[in-house]
Structure formats: structure tokens, C-alpha cells
Amino acid sequence: MEPSLASYLALSGILFAIGATGVIFKRNAIGMFMCIELMLNAVNLTFVAFSRHYADVTGQLFVFMVMSVAAAEAAVGLGIIIAFFRNRVSVDVDDASILKN
């Protein structure tokens, strides 16, 4: 018996919760970025599970768009981190508070 839709959605929810907790915990900018990617993958799993359940290709095409957006975000985000690291020694986000006040 193929696992039901609820199993896939529960797995997706668990991965999303773990990713959200990671974004809160991590002090490293790259660690936070990796937990954001984990959350995006959880949502991808939801889309593919629903696409299988309703036999609609829209879900899988949206997964393709999400992956492209994640790749673009990776390029620009890591560029920001490198540009940030040139002026300061650490990528600790607690030290990045010059926009305050």
C-alpha cells in the first residue's frame, strides 16, 4: 500500500519545523541560509505529494519554479555574505547591527 497523502505532508511539516528552528538557532549566516533551503525543500515535497494525489502536473512545475528561485537566491545571498565578509572578519549575524539606530 502506498503511503497516504498524510504521511508525506507530515514529513514535510516535520522538515519545515526543523528548518524553522534552525533559522532561529543558527548564528552563522550560512547556517541560516542552509536552514532556509531546508524549509524550501519541505514545501517542494508538499507540492509533489499533492501533484501525485490529484494527478495534476501544476505541482511539479511549481516545484521547478521554486528550485530556480532557490538557485537565484543562493547566488545573490552568498554574494551578499562574501561582500559582507570583506569588511568584517566574521559572518556572525549578531555583529551585523550597524543598521541599528
Binding site: P3, F16, I18, N28, E37, N41, V57, S68, V76
Partner: protein
């Protein structure tokens, strides 16, 4: 004889369905373990390798969902391009481990509590599924095939694909501009008419474009 073949095929298909369920739970457990490892480790390189493990197990789950194109693209793009880029950056910047909070230990407990609350909310899905109309899984497997996805990409979903192209162009331009060092001399494009005869004082009429 014919009945024996029928029984054999029935048993095999039943075993394959059981194997699908067992494989799903194996890969789901692997994905959750790798995700917990990503969040737990303070060294960003360990987190990156654990995240690659998550992506590969998710790709296997996509195969059990009859989505072979998405499974292949997941390995290609996520594990093959994005994580390689992340590992480049980690090794380029030579990042140290995260230092744990000393004075703010209660924040770990608060974050963990919020995470558990979010996790408890996801188990609402089992309640919601019981209330939803029980349509059976549509076992039409042509949905995930590459031919079908390609046909839809070029006919019905052409606009999103083109917009994604523009988005990737924006990302390329943004990436190039972000890592530009301003102390370096800018590129200067001189537009002039090389084929015309030039005098000495004509250089002030040239166009200069600074990139």
C-alpha cells in the same frame, strides 16, 4: 498454470507496494535524521554535508512519488549546484565554528519550545485528512514523466518559465555587481568610429560608458 502466473504476479505487486511503503519510511527517517544533524552541528561544513544527505533522501522520496524528473532535477540543482556553491563559500571564507551563547542560554530553550509548538501544529494534518473527502490516489503515472512536464512547460506554463529566465538574469547581474571591488578600475567602454579618419582632437567626442 494460468492461475499460478496470476497469483505470482499478484504477490509480486503486493510485495512491491509493501517495499514502496518500507522505502518511504527508510528515506523519511534518513531525511529527518540529516535535517536534525544540519541544525545541531556548529561547524558549517558538517551542516552542509548533512543538508546534502537531506536532498538525496528527498530525491529518493520523489521517486516513490512517481516524479522522476523532479528527482533528477533535485540532485542536479540542489545537491549539485547550490550546495557546491555553499561549500565553496564556506571554504573561501574559512568560517569558524559557531560560538554558543554564554549569557543567553534561555534563548535556546525558548527557540526549542517554539520549534516543538510548530512541530505539534504539523500533526494537525492527521486530523485534517480525516475530515477531508477521501479521494483515492490517482495512480496515473504519466504526470511525472519528463515528456509531459516538457510539453506543459512549453504550452500551458510558458509564461512562468520565461519569467524564471528573467529572474536568473537578474541573479547573475546582482551577483556580479555585489562582488565587484570598488577599488578596482571600472570597465570603460569607448565607442568611437574607428573607420572614419580621426584627428587629434576628436577623442573628446567619444562616448565613455562606465560599468
Amino acid at each position: 498454470m494460468f492461475v499460478k502466473t496470476y497469483h505470482f504476479l499478484l504477490l509480486t505487486s503486493h510485495l512491491i507496494k509493501m517495499a514502496t511503503t518500507a522505502l518511504f519510511f527508510v528515506f523519511a527517517g534518513l531525511a529527518i535524521a540529516c535535517a536534525l544533524s544540519t541544525v545541531y552541528h556548529r561547524n558549517p561544513l558538517y551542516s552542509a554535508v548533512s543538508l546534502i544527505g537531506v536532498f538525496i533522501s528527498l530525491s529518493c522520496i520523489y521517486v516513490t512519488l512517481a516524479a522522476p524528473f523532479i528527482a533528477a532535477v533535485q540532485i542536479l540543482i540542489y545537491a549539485g549546484a547550490i550546495m557546491v556553491l555553499v561549500i565553496f563559500v564556506i571554504m573561501l571564507l574559512n568560517l569558524d565554528e559557531d560560538k554558543p551563547y554564554r549569557k543567553l542560554n534561555y534563548l535556546y530553550a525558548l527557540g526549542g519550545f517554539l520549534g516543538i509548538v510548530l512541530l505539534a501544529q504539523t500533526f494537525f494534518i492527521f486530523v485534517a485528512v480525516k475530515k477531508a473527502p477521501q479521494t483515492p490516489v490517482n495512480t496515473d503515472e504519466t504526470v511525472g514523466k519528463t515528456l509531459n512536464i516538457g510539453a506543459n512547460m512549453y504550452t500551458e506554463y510558458l509564461l512562468p518559465v520565461e519569467i524564471v529566465g528573467v529572474l536568473l538574469l537578474m541573479a547573475i547581474i546582482g551577483g556580479v555587481i555585489l562582488v565587484r571591488r570598488l577599488s578596482q578600475p571600472e570597465l570603460t567602454l569607448i565607442v568611437n568610429n574607428e573607420l572614419d579618419r580621426r584627428n587629434e582632437g576628436d577623442e573628446k567626442d567619444d562616448y565613455r560608458i562606465a560599468l
